[in-house]
């Protein structure tokens, strides 16, 4: 074929008139970037398999670390707030110094009476939360969390998978929660007897709850009065008052009235947030989390930034050639940020997949493994990956924009 066989520019122009490639053309005219140039950028990136793999590994590892750390924290916080979630009370009254479920400070009984008399309170019940020591049939001892439910209403009771909830009123009746810690009580069945703080106890029900506790000990439910009777306590015994308000609008008034007594009122979410805040800022977990997340970010940024910079350096002449041929600065910028973005998103997906896979694997071996991938974690990691990609891209762009096509001629 000779050149004459190829239509001249004039003919080509005529041929293109009347063609409507609406979406692609609209994109071109709006942003001035050719989709084809992004395709070239994509091919340049993924066809350089070694560099692309190194970039992906760096970002995947970084995302994995970020998601893993924040997921562990989310998992631990869910477990730390397990009783709050399992109980399901909308409003909680407690001593002001309470920071989490295990630090309950007993309140005098009159608090319950006052709370019940506040306008806007539909009903209010006491809740006991404490730790007892179970002597198992094997002779081993096992600490347990004991929750004492209001004797009249059993408000906050768990869903039973075996037994009848009324049997909790039977002599020495306890309901055991069948969660990851259940085996530590030697898999008790209905009617299994054990000693709780030297008191005879009997399993009258087996329950399921949405979340199990943080400290790896089994949970027993019984009535409030029996709990108080079995577990040694101070002068006051009531750990929390659970309130069902007449409406959410009544909560501020209830809060004010309870505050007059010198106690604190929080909503269910407020209590969960309070627990999270305490673990975050008063236990060192928050600092560790922040450090690990920051390290993951730095690791990701350094691997990605370095590799991407090297990738661009190795292709610098090619970018220079493109510039000489007629590529505009903004097209080269678009190419590089597109490459950085593609790598970031791919690394993000792989990192999440790897993390989710390992969490699933860990949960097969350790059912109590505290790790949950939440939307917040995902959004945070995505944000950090985009920052990594943007910084990597920016470093590379600065280099590419400085290329002088004359250097291509000079060799």
């Amino acid at each position: 074929m000779r050149l004459d066989a190829i239509p001249s520019r004039a003919t080509r122009t005529v041929r293109f008139i009347g063609q409507h490639r609406a979406p692609a053309r609209a994109l071109q005219s709006k942003v001035g970037i050719v989709p084809g140039i992004l395709r070239i950028a994509y091919k340049l990136l993924v066809n350089d398999k070694g560099k692309f793999a190194a970039l992906l590994m760096g970002l995947t590892f970084s995302v994995f670390l970020m998601i893993q750390m924040t997921s562990m924290f989310a998992g631990m916080m869910k477990k730390a707030s397990a009783t709050v979630m399992n109980t399901g009370a909308k409003v909680w009254v407690m001593d002001r110094s309470v920071t989490n479920m295990s630090s309950a400070v007993p309140m005098p009984d009159y608090v319950l009476d006052v709370v019940r008399s506040i306008d806007g309170v539909k009903y209010a019940v006491p809740l006991y939360s404490g730790v007892g020591l179970v002597r198992l049939k094997s002779g081993m001892y096992q600490p347990v969390t004991v929750l004492g439910l209001d004797d009249t209403s059993l408000y906050g009771r768990p869903n039973l998978i075996e037994g009848n909830i009324e049997d909790i009123f039977a002599e020495n009746g306890f309901v055991v929660v069948k969660d990851e810690e259940y085996v530590k009580l030697e898999n008790p069945k209905m009617g299994t007897e054990f000693e709780l703080n030297d008191n005879r106890s009997v399993i009258v029900g087996i329950a399921k709850v949405p979340a199990s506790g943080l400290f790896g000990i089994p949970t027993l439910y019984t009535t409030y009065n029996r709990a108080v009777q079995y577990i040694p306590s101070m002068r006051y015994t009531m750990s929390f008052v659970l309130i069902e308000p007449q409406s959410p609008a009544a909560i501020p008034h209830i809060r004010e009235e309870v505050a007059r007594l010198g106690y604190e009122t929080v909503t269910e979410q407020g209590f969960i947030d309070k627990i999270t805040t305490w673990y975050m800022f008063h236990t060192g977990m928050g600092v560790n989390l922040l450090l690990m997340t920051a390290i993951s970010f730095v690791v990701g940024l350094s691997i990605s930034g370095q590799t991407f910079y090297t990738f661009v350096l190795e292709n610098l002449e090619k970018f220079g050639a493109l510039k000489a041929i007629g590529a505009k600065g903004r097209e080269l910028v678009a190419m590089i940020f597109f490459q950085a973005g593609i790598t970031g998103i791919a690394g993000y997906g792989l990192g999440i997949g790897l993390c989710a896979g390992l969490i699933a694997l860990a949960k097969l071996r350790v059912p109590d493994y505290a790790s949950i991938v939440t939307y917040q974690n995902l959004v945070m990691a995505l944000g950090m990956v985009l920052v990594i990609s943007a910084i990597s891209g920016y470093i590379a762009v600065r280099k590419v924009l400085r290329i002088d096509p004359y250097d291509i001629f000079r060799g």
Partner: protein, 232 residues
């Protein structure tokens, strides 16, 4: 239409500063016509490549003007200059500068893609240019799988794809053996040079001088042949 493709007047380019300052191109004026294959020859460091860069809109001169088909090149702003290079100039670099991670056809399609042509359409058109240079069968291979001569042909196809009025060849035979170099230049002379195209070749390979329509000799940044240059 006037048949002057390039009109360069009093081009001067300095590099460096202070005592290291040197003049790479000194008061160079010449014209090149359409359907002309013009050679710029001379020893290394004589300013050939600098002159080539100035006339192709890559390196701004310190003095003088360049018009390519009546466009005063160095009055253009940055983006317009890029458009000018894309639409008017076809570059064939000494080292080809093909993308090893793209196929041969994709390499040829680059100027078309930069001209905002649809991807598939660009590839189809690139295939036609590959046919012109006799490499249609190699379209799907990466350039690294091609010989030096074939890579040179791919670079020519890429330069042709932008439909340029002016084609710039920088040392086209430097990386090729004598026979292949001659064949390439012969091909360029007979199949690439058209009535509305001017080809400027920078070389110091005297084995291909026979294909030149006119030869400009450069030394120490000056044209030895005055304004016109010598007919080959």
């Amino acid at each position: 239409m006037e048949d002057v493709a390039i009109r360069a007047q009093a081009l001067t380019k300095w590099f460096g500063q202070g005592e290291a300052k040197m003049c790479a191109v000194r008061d160079v004026s010449f014209e090149a016509r359409f359907h002309e294959m013009l050679y710029i020859v001379g020893p290394s460091g004589s300013g050939k490549t600098t002159l080539l860069s100035i006339i192709s809109g890559i390196l701004r001169p310190d003095a003088g003007t360049v018009s390519v088909e009546d466009t005063d090149v160095w009055t253009l702003k940055e983006n317009a200059l890029a458009e000018f290079r894309l639409n008017k100039i076809g570059f064939v670099f000494q080292d080809y500068h093909l993308f090893p991670n793209l196929t041969t056809a994709e390499n040829v399609a680059i100027p078309l893609v930069l001209k905002k042509r649809d991807w598939n359409e660009a590839i189809r058109e690139a295939m036609k240019y590959l046919e012109v240079v006799g490499l249609a069968a190699r379209a799907k291979l990466p350039p690294t799988r091609l010989s030096g001569g074939e890579q040179q042909r791919v670079a020519i196809a890429r330069a042709l794809a932008s439909g340029p009025d002016l084609m710039i060849f920088d040392e086209p035979t430097a990386s090729l053996d004598g026979d292949t170099g001659r064949k390439i230049v012969e091909f360029v002379k007979h199949d690439v040079l058209t009535d509305h195209r001017c080809i400027v070749v920078v070389t110091h390979d005297d084995r291909i001088y026979e294909f030149a329509d006119r030869i400009l000799h450069m030394e120490d940044g000056r044209l030895l042949d005055g304004k016109g240059g010598a007919d080959a």
